[in-house]
């Protein structure tokens, strides 16, 4: 091995943000253009409706020509309503009579709505039901700092902010409830009590599917834990997750893992921050997207006494700046989950056990052992 070393180097994997005070910016956007209900500078609570719109109504397709027994290109002659006309449920929209009324047939609207289209080729009438209103709330209490005309708003708040590595389930609110004594401790079924109702239950290193199910039965809003077995996620959901795009699962409780899959001690810093906020109201979201436009699950504990606008804006997750002494976490076998400090950053590629020549970093584990790992297998992590 050559003695050459870098003074500093970038970590390949961005670290997860775990910070006591952070300027959280949330974009709340409608799926299609609509109306924004708040204005810049407004203070909002987590349940304030900030924007609303109407999704186009459902479609009903009626084979009108077939019902009337006429050719599609004749259908127009028998229509009592034309495209754009409103119709009521049960209202006759097309009628056919022949032989002085001896043969008659008619088409009734199965729903309230309006005629969208009458086809002379297929003989179909397309009805559209009334629009479906949808609303979006603020999700976090804070200040509206920007209005995106017809689309939504940006809300900012000062908060303790913790990113997890993977989650399931969408946006929820609840009080932080610490169910274990230390970050090493497992969240076992006996620690799930009726007290968990409406709470965000914080465990230590691991929760089994029994624990998740019990917490859900007791009405917990969320479970935050160091690790779970990947298989238990499937057992909990009733189906297997193939791609890490989550957040839309149809479950009443959100689950966030902070470290990874398996039994892994929750990082002390994360655990302590949560513990300091025990009893506080938090907004959580399990939505995770690993590919293109990374989204990590989040725990936001608003600090209403702090003006978010006085905090600095941080656009990016801090990446890089690895140098001797930097604290890191190993994110792959054989030291998966280990916390360590950077010792050296050798420049030449080195062969690891697989025989692949890779960029490496020499690290000192918590027990004092010095080992070499690929740089791709560490992330910056304060511990």
């Amino acid at each position: 091995m050559s003695g050459k070393e870098s003074q500093s180097a970038h970590a390949y994997t961005p670290g997860l943000r775990v910070t006591p005070l952070f300027r959280v910016r949330k974009t709340r956007r409608l799926p299609i253009p609509g109306e924004v209900l708040v204005k810049e500078g407004d203070k909002v609570n987590y349940d304030t409706i900030v924007a609303r719109t109407n999704l186009p109504g459902d479609i009903r397709i009626i084979s009108a020509a077939a019902i009337l027994g006429v050719e599609p290109d004749e259908l127009m002659h028998y229509m009592l309503k034309k495209p754009g006309d409103p119709v009521k449920k049960g209202e006759v929209i097309a009628k056919y009579r022949a032989f002085f009324g001896l043969i008659k047939s008619e088409v009734k609207s199965p729903v309230d709505g309006y005629i969208e289209h009458v086809s002379e080729v297929t003989g179909q009438v397309i009805l559209r039901e009334p629009p479906i209103p949808i609303e979006i709330d603020a999700y976090v209490p804070g200040i509206v700092t920007k209005v995106l005309p017809r689309e939504g708003v940006i809300i900012e708040c000062a908060a303790t902010f913790i990113e997890g590595i993977f989650g399931i389930g969408g946006e929820r609110h609840g009080e932080i409830y610490i169910a274990v004594k230390s970050p090493e401790e497992e969240l076992t079924p006996d620690k799930i009590t009726p007290e968990c109702e409406g709470k965000i239950v914080v465990g230590g290193s691991y929760a089994s599917v029994e624990v998740l199910k019990k917490a859900m039965e007791y009405g917990a809003k969320g479970v935050v834990v160091g690790g779970v077995d990947f298989k238990d996620i499937s057992d909990f959901l009733g189906y297997e997750i193939g791609v890490a795009i989550t957040g839309h699962e149809d479950i009443p409780m959100t689950v966030i893992i902070t470290e990874g899959f398996g039994k892994i001690r929750m990082a002390k810093k994360t655990f302590n921050l949560l513990k300091e906020n025990e009893g506080e109201l938090a907004a959580i979201n399990g939505a995770t997207q690993i590919r293109a436009g990374v989204i990590r699950p989040e725990i936001i504990i608003p600090k209403l006494e702090v003006n978010p606008l006085e905090l600095p804006i941080e656009e990016e997750v801090y990446v890089g700046g690895m140098q001797p002494g930097t604290k890191i976490r190993v994110i792959r076998a054989p030291y998966f989950g280990a916390l360590a400090k950077v010792v050296k950053l050798p420049i030449p590629l080195q062969k690891v056990e697989t025989e692949s020549p890779v960029r490496v970093v020499e690290i000192e584990l918590e027990d004092g052992r010095r080992v070499i790992v690929p740089r791709a297998n560490v992330e910056l992590f304060e511990w």
Binding site: T13, P56, V243, N377
Partner: protein, 621 residues
């Protein structure tokens, strides 16, 4: 339609005078620049530059990442490429290490080209439309057909949920009924799917159906969508014409989708030829190889998120993409589709199922990590075999003859009716199998890549094997649209890594014993004779610059392309694996019992020196 500024007239380019070429691929995570130069009359790859892609917030301008990647090339070569005003590339080459003669690019950032296709009959026009969209490099989000089993409202619900970049609508033969294809158009109109990027523009639709329905289609879709009409994809049942639809998709990708995708407009102004979806570039290169060498080719692009399989078989090109089979982001989907048992069957050690699942899930959430231990490496290689196998299964479903065609049947055909459903790809008739993607290009021992390709595709007969040296196939593919000779020269000299040639026996023997005798006439004049027993693998070393004549004499149970027990003579190329003689039989059978299987796997790995001995001694991890 958005009119794009085209500053370069490709027809006026004199490629013979070119000296310097730059090609880039704007991938979903990394932007990769490849720099080529003519040296002593030959085109060569000079160096690569890479940087994170900047398609998303806060940057939203791919040219930032592009500049960083190109700057790396500038630093490594001392060749100035970027304009000082930040407005693109210095074109043409000015001599004295300044400028390039040609700049081309592919892109898959932001999820690539995502399409929905629709047709009338699922197995006929909808399938043709799917082939056309896939061939154009798209990810097909859904295939809708009148007879796909979903009621109209379900189809509408689904269309609304999808936010495609483009829709391809086909249906009906020219002169046939127009009712059904118009019905499908009406469903699309009713669903009014929104484009993925931007709320304020019309979604492009390519209509490639019954030409008699065109006026009706215009009436139904013309006002709400950006409608392009091209020749019918199935003018008659017996013929499939995918090119007009494919070309229209490429044009709309450049002019419409790229123009609206955040951060892309500048790139479309910088390049000299239309930007191609990355898989279209990769596919283009496999087609060029097949055409130039006049062979049938199977290729695989095994990526982090997707597995692309390409076949060029007797001139027919088919590409399929398994959008959710990959080695990092989608690794758990391989686990889901293949099951733990199928992954574990490739491992010579026991692993706890729960542990295996956790390891793969941890790779999914931290996709850029690398295997450090041999057991981790072997697990990844096992997953790779399954991802390619599943991708190839999927491919075979689309690489088949046109359905719905009336055939004159004989009594024999009636007994073989199911054949109509099968692929036309005969592995015995595939002369080259190629692989690209991070895992295949970076196996610590090249022979590992050879073995992965052999096992996953189950090659038969005499098959040459290769992989991409450093991800360069898409670059060369898009280059081949302007300057195929340069692309092929670079491919042969710098892109291709020969992994050897596999001689694989089709069939099985009833008892152990000699299955084949191979006599190799090596370039140094030596003649090597090797007899390989049934169930075993062996090899004869042959360097990657070398070729040899071989005479293959299978026993009466086996076929190597000439019929059971028939001798075959062939010319083979060398590489990391040399001449690999695979006498394990086809289809490949792995014993259910762990101990028996373990012994077998170890003997195969040892025969090819595929993995260090240390890991082969481990029984359990």
């Amino acid at each position: 339609m958005v009119a794009m500024e085209r500053r370069y007239d490709l027809s006026k380019l004199d490629v013979s005078k070119m000296q310097v070429i730059l090609a880039t691929d704007v991938g979903s995570t990394t932007t990769k620049a490849r720099f080529f130069k003519k040296i002593n009359g030959h085109w060569r790859f000079i160096c690569a530059g890479e940087a994170p892609t900047t398609v998303e917030k806060p940057f939203e301008d791919v040219t930032m990442g592009l500049r960083n990647a190109i700057r790396e090339v500038e630093e490594l070569t001392g060749h100035k490429i970027l304009r000082d005003d930040g407005q693109g590339i210095i074109i043409p080459y000015q001599g004295e290490n300044v400028g390039v003669d040609l700049y081309v690019s592919t892109s898959s950032a932001g999820g690539g080209l995502q399409m929905m296709v629709a047709g009338v009959v699922k197995t006929m026009t909808a399938e043709s439309a799917e082939r056309a969209a896939l061939g154009a490099g798209a990810i097909v989000m859904d295939v809708m057909a009148i007879d796909d089993g979903r009621p109209p409202h379900k189809k509408i619900e689904r269309m609304r949920f999808l936010r495609p970049d483009m829709i391809l609508l086909a249906g009906g033969t020219d002169g046939g009924t127009i009712k059904h294809v118009v019905e499908m158009a009406e469903l699309i109109r009713a669903a009014e799917p929104k484009p993925r990027f931007g709320l304020g523009y019309k979604l492009p639709i390519v209509y490639a159906g019954n030409k008699d329905a065109r006026e009706h289609i215009k009436k139904v879709l013309g006002d709400k969508f950006e409608l392009t009409i091209v020749d019918n994809i199935r003018p008659v049942l017996e013929v499939e014409v995918v090119e007009p639809a494919r070309d229209a998709i490429h044009r709309l990708f450049m002019e419409h989708v790229m123009a609206h995708a955040p951060g892309y407009h500048k790139l479309t102004e910088w390049v000299m030829a239309p930007v191609m979806p990355t898989p279209a570039g990769e596919g283009m290169m496999f087609r060029t190889i097949a055409r130039m060498w006049r062979i049938n080719v199977l290729g695989v692009g095994l990526g982090g998120a997707t597995t692309n399989v390409y076949s060029v078989y007797e001139g027919k090109f088919v590409r399929t993409v398994s959008a959710n089979l990959g080695m990092s982001y989608s690794i758990c989907n391989v686990l889901k589709e293949a099951g733990t048992k199928n992954i574990m069957r490739w491992l010579p050690f026991r692993v706890d199922e729960k542990e295996l699942r956790n390891r793969l899930a941890n790779k999914m959430i931290r996709p850029t990590t690398l295997p450090q231990t041999l057991d981790d490496l072997m697990i990844e290689h096992a997953v790779a075999r399954e991802a390619i196998r599943l991708g190839f299964e999927h491919h075979k479903q689309l690489a088949r003859g046109l359905r719905g065609v009336q055939r004159r049947r004989t009594i024999a055909d009636i007994f073989e009716q199911s054949l109509e459903e099968e692929t036309y790809i005969d592995m015995m008739n595939i002369q080259l199998v190629g692989g690209t993607g991070g895992l295949l290009s970076h196996t610590p021992r090249r022979v590992q890549a050879a073995l992965i390709l052999i096992d996953a595709f189950q090659v038969k007969g005499v098959t040459r094997l290769m992989c991409d040296s450093i991800f360069m196939m898409p670059h060369l593919g898009v280059l081949s649209t302007v300057y195929p000779e340069a692309a092929m020269e670079i491919f042969e000299r710098d892109c291709i890594v020969k992994l050897g040639t596999c001689i694989a026996l089709d069939g099985h023997a009833k008892k152990p014993g000699p299955a084949v005798k191979v006599t190799a006439y090596l370039p140094d004049g030596k003649v090597v004779e090797k007899v390989v027993n049934y169930g075993e693998i062996a090899n004869i070393p042959l360097g990657d610059e070398e070729t040899a004549k071989v005479i293959i004499e299978p026993s009466s149970d086996f076929d190597v392309g000439m019929g059971k027990g028939k001798k075959r003579e062939a010319k083979v190329w060398g590489g990391a694996g040399g001449i690999i003689i695979d006498a394990r039989g086809r289809p490949l059978k792995l014993p259910e019992d762990f101990e028996t299987r373990r012994k077998m796997l170890i003997s195969w790995f040892k025969a090819l020196n595929a993995y260090p001995e240390s890991i082969l001694e481990v029984e359990e991890i």
